[in-house]
């Protein structure tokens, strides 16, 4: 008795606590705490990063992320969002994102329904006369596999475990073994079940832990690993609701190397978008039952490509006890039933493996495999493709009769582009082009577009276009392929970092954001000048940022007949977010693999009177066009002249108030879009920075002190808004001895200037004390009254009564 008691205690200690299991299985946590993922710009590496304090590059688990141009950065737990914003400003980084959690896509289900209807419904049984999956490598990126299960005997290749970082992808969840069985359990072995591709080799890669949960980073690493280890088909019975540049790149890495990918649409029964299923190069699988009807829990929407049986699927489970589905859901070992789009995905992966094992040249690219499955699918729901069933339910035997042609590869950039801003470079001057007398382009509609003919051939990335498509959301796509740029439902497509493979592609984006027409917006085009030096101008006038009434945007794109430059110009940028803080500015190639981004959701990126010129230059050229234009032009301050602050709004300058300079001096102010050194959390960062330098060089041996010099900052209304509404709350701060030192600052309200005596010249910024630091100095709640001092009033009353009594007593004798 005592012995048994001890044993059960031991078991309890070894097993994860059920409470934690439930917590993780239905966790609302979005991402891995303390981690961010960065994607580098082309040619950049971790060593190029200037990481903010307390951030560090995580130890590398595999070479997968490196191949994707990505790395994991460790940041303080709980401050992931703040660090995301900081890292996004690093010039070497293309995108920063959370390491989102990803989950197995299934519906826990205790049905004992054990009839295997799927092989017949999908025509696998008839296909088996010709093909069996032999010679095909099917990667199962999941929770691992039980290699001892007799259904996989002799067909499991050496895999990898990205949870523990070893070569043993054991299955502590049960999901991976179940999925593997559907796709590839032994058939014709007089036991258990029949897998679809029953002679295929299984490449197990473990990315889901013992509680069936994993991260985007793990899945991305596993994708690269599986491709590099010979996968022909990859099964992804998992998904998350957050888009990710990392997952996008990782799936594309596989697709571009000829691997077919199948992913689950998810099981919440809602119209939504799930990743990686939603990427164009990944087949998104919905689930049907034996009728076949869409399973109520199967997600639907524009992403759905195909459906396959996923309801009540009987398949393999680990042969041992203690896997999560057994411990917490009470499912049987060896075999049991599960439902979900995970199961449907495995059927599709098995189907693809069968097609590949035919050895036919008809299935030599993923696109041909996808097309064969799509062309032959059993149409269900609304005739043709629909959002519930996609193209229909997979029919393997019919797919074997299909022989799709290989599609041509899309064009990419063979030229590079560089961009120059008018406020930093004399080569790109702002000169607004008036479109009056031009053509008004009407009926784009909200979120809409309009295809027009170009007056002369336009070149983007060495491809020439005779048509362009104007989009209401502030970008222009080259050519007339509208379908590459709008979503099926006509909804706004969230602006994204460039380049990105997800659509829209092939574009010029002067202000890609959610824009609307308040009733007064116009889109004009005008061709000016005479051949061969014509200009073609597209002007967006009086557009508004969606939901921000009172905002007004007026910008234009200029095309040139005599060169392949593009000029973006900004005349009016009024209202919240008009500074580019929620917009993408840049250009991108047709396949989305190349692009040149000026800014992405970057505060203060744009301003009125700004021109940005994109100039092509040959690939591999050593000198960038912008190298010819120094970032900032130094100004010579002549001797004998005092200087008044000449800073434009949001910029820094100097003011020499203590008398004239005795000697000529060189002055240089580089206004920075991002700080070289991050401000501490105790300060409210107004996000205005400059690198200032003043070279005051009196002749040798001539002692002459620099007159009192002030750094000045011209504040904008938006700066005041961020700092409580009062200029007195702001101060100028200088980066001194590796810390940001606040400087005693005075306000010149008449000129909207902050002025501070400059201790030396370095990086400058504007800040206020952070009102939301949770200490005794925080802003807290307003005080709207004062306590009434009852104690003082009672004392006063008592004294007065005493006084009156005394007076009465003193007065009494005289009244007698």
């Amino acid at each position: 008795m005592r012995r048994i008691f001890l044993l059960s205690l031991l078991l309890l200690a070894l097993l994860p606590a059920p409470a934690r299991a439930r917590e993780v299985l239905d966790s609302n946590a979005e991402f891995v705490p303390g981690q961010l993922i960065v994607l580098f710009k082309t040619g950049k590496k971790t060593k190029d990063l200037r990481l903010p304090a307390q951030a560090s590059v995580a130890a590398k688990k595999s070479s997968g992320l490196e191949k994707l141009g990505a790395a994991v950065i460790n940041v303080p737990v709980g401050q992931e969002r703040a660090y995301l914003a900081k890292l996004a400003q690093d010039k070497n980084i293309r995108a920063v994102e959370f390491n989102y959690l990803i989950k197995a896509a299934l519906v826990p289900n205790d049905s004992a329904y054990a009839l295997q209807y799927a092989p017949h419904l999908m025509q696998a049984d008839t296909a088996w006369d010709a093909v069996n999956g032999a010679g095909v490598t099917l990667a199962i990126i999941d929770s691992g596999i039980d290699p001892a299960h007799p259904e996989f005997s002799g067909r499991i290749l050496p895999g990898y475990d990205f949870i523990e970082g070893d070569a043993t992808p054991q299955d502590g969840c049960g999901h991976g073994t179940h999925v593997a069985g559907i796709a590839a359990a032994e058939t014709n072995n007089a036991q258990g079940i029949a897998g679809i591709a029953w002679q295929a080799n299984i490449l197990p890669v473990r990315v889901l832990d013992d509680l069936c949960s994993g991260s985007y980073e793990g899945v991305a690493s596993a994708l690269v690993w599986a491709v590099d280890h010979g996968a022909d088909v990859i099964n992804l019975s998992l998904g998350g609701y957050s888009p990710s540049a990392l997952l996008e790149n990782a799936t594309y890495y596989a697709y571009a190397r000829g691997v077919a990918l199948f992913a689950a649409a998810g099981n919440d029964g809602i119209a939504t978008t799930v990743y990686p299923a939603a990427y164009n190069w990944v087949m998104a699988l919905g689930s049907v039952n034996n009728v076949p009807e869409r399973a109520g829990t199967s997600n639907f929407g524009a992403m759905i490509d195909l459906t396959a049986p996923g309801e009540n699927i009987y398949s393999t489970f680990p042969t041992y006890d203690g896997f999560a589905y057994r411990t917490y859901l009470g499912l049987a070992k060896n075999y049991d039933t599960l439902s979900g789009t995970s199961m449907a995905t495995a059927q599709a992966s098995g189907a693809a493996a069968l097609l590949l094992s035919s050895g036919s040249a008809c299935y030599s690219t993923p696109d041909q495999i996808y097309q064969a499955l799509i062309n032959s699918a059993l149409d269900a729901g609304i005739p043709g493709r629909d959002d519930e069933y996609g193209y229909g339910v997979i029919q393997i035997n019919a797919a074997l009769a299909e022989c799709p042609a290989a599609p041509p590869a899309p064009a990419t950039f063979t030229t590079q582009y560089d961009w120059m801003r008018s406020d930093r470079c004399g080569l790109s001057a702002y000169a607004w082009r008036d479109t009056s007398g031009g053509v008004e382009q009407v009926s784009l509609g909200n979120e809409g577009y309009k295809n027009i003919a170009a007056p002369f051939p336009l070149t983007l990335g060495s491809v020439t276009y005779n048509n362009i498509t104007l989009h209401a959301n502030g970008f222009i796509s080259m050519g007339s392929a509208n379908t590459t740029t709008t979503s099926a439902a006509g909804n706004y497509r969230e602006n994204a970092a460039l380049p990105g493979i997800a659509k829209p592609n092939n574009l010029l984006a002067p202000f890609w954001d959610d824009l609307t027409d308040p009733g007064s917006a116009h889109l004009y085009t005008l061709t000016s000048g005479s051949a061969p030096n014509r200009e073609f101008i597209v002007e967006y006038k009086n557009y508004q940022r969606a939901g921000v009434s009172g905002s007004a945007l007026n910008f234009e794109v200029v095309f040139f007949e005599n060169n392949a430059d593009f000029l973006f110009q900004y005349k009016t940028l009024k209202g919240a977010g008009a500074d580019g803080s929620s917009a993408t500015v840049g250009i991108e190639s047709e396949n989305g693999l190349a692009g040149f981004q000026h800014s992405f959701n970057l505060k203060h990126a744009l301003k009125e009177g700004l021109a940005i010129r994109f100039t092509p230059y040959p690939s591999g050229s050593a000198a960038l066009p912008s190298a010819a234009c120094p970032q900032t032009v130094a100004i010579t301050l002549p001797a004998g002249t005092p200087r008044l602050c000449a800073a434009a709004e949001g910029e820094f300058d100097i003011e020499i108030s203590g008398g004239a300079l005795a000697y000529a001096t060189t002055w240089k102010a580089e206004q920075l879009a991002a700080p070289l050194n991050a401000l501490p959390a105790s300060l409210l960062d107004i996000q205005r920075y400059a690198d200032l330098s003043l070279r005051y060089e009196p002749p040798y041996a001539m002692l002459s002190a620099l007159p009192s010099t002030n750094v000045c900052y011209h504040y904008a209304a938006s700066d005041l808004l961020a700092a409580g509404g009062h200029a007195e709350n702001l101060f100028i701060t200088a980066y001194t001895n590796n810390v940001w030192q606040p400087l005693p600052t005075t306000v010149d309200a008449g000129r909207s200037l902050l002025l501070a005596n400059a201790p030396h010249f370095s990086e400058y910024s504007v800040a206020a004390l952070n009102p939301n630091a949770a200490d005794e100095n925080q802003l807290g709640m307003p005080v709207t009254g004062a306590p009434v001092r009852w104690d003082a009033m009672i004392l006063l009353l008592t004294v007065m009564i005493l006084f009156i009594r005394l007076w009465q007593r003193a007065a009494q004798p005289s009244s007698r």
Partner: protein, 183 residues
């Protein structure tokens, strides 16, 4: 806000509340123009008041390393926190008003009940909200963490709501009354 006036060299002591925040009004006009809230009305409590933009001031220590924050006084009006939302954009619209001393505009705010209407007037029209919650937050002895939690009622929210704040009770002001209304 400051309830005792700092010593000044002004020839006559100021008996009236501080001068109106004209600089902040100018800033709000430039950034928000006609989108601003002009008035607030709670018919059930017989409250009608003009609305003015309010922010905060920092009384810095000499070395600027720390300082004391205080909210601007809306004087006789109701203050709209400039970092909060406006009716046309969703999110949290934060308003506060005096309950004694300078004015009594929100003296009866604590009597609000779920279901009472809160009307905000902008140039575009009237925005109607309905009171859902009335909270009394004890401030006496609250530590920094608690105060930060309370202050979160003034921070941006994902849902559209109006948050109205005042002191309570009028005699001792030991609490804050927070009224949350939703469209």
């Amino acid at each position: 806000m400051n309830i005792t006036h700092a010593a000044t060299n002004a020839p006559t002591p100021q008996a009236s509340p501080p001068a109106p925040q004209s600089d902040i009004q100018q800033m709000a006009d430039e950034l928000f123009g006609a989108r601003q809230i002009r008035s607030v009305q709670i018919p059930a409590l017989n409250i009608t008041s003009a609305v003015v933009p309010v922010g905060w001031r920092v009384n810095y220590q000499e070395d600027l390393s720390s300082g004391a924050f205080e909210w601007d006084s809306p004087n006789a009006d109701v203050g709209w926190v400039i970092t909060s939302a406006l009716p046309d954009e969703g999110g949290n619209i934060a308003l506060y008003g005096h309950n004694n001393l300078y004015s009594r505009v929100f003296e009866r705010l604590y009597k609000a009940q779920a279901g009472d209407a809160v009307l905000l007037q902008t140039e575009a029209g009237t925005w109607k909200y309905t009171v859902r919650y009335v909270l009394l937050l004890p401030m006496l002895g609250a530590d920094a963490e608690q105060i930060a939690r309370y202050a979160a009622y003034l921070q941006p929210s994902a849902d559209a709501r109006v948050t109205l704040v005042s002191c309570y009770p009028p005699q001792s002001n030991t609490h804050r009354v927070v009224v949350i209304a939703q469209p």
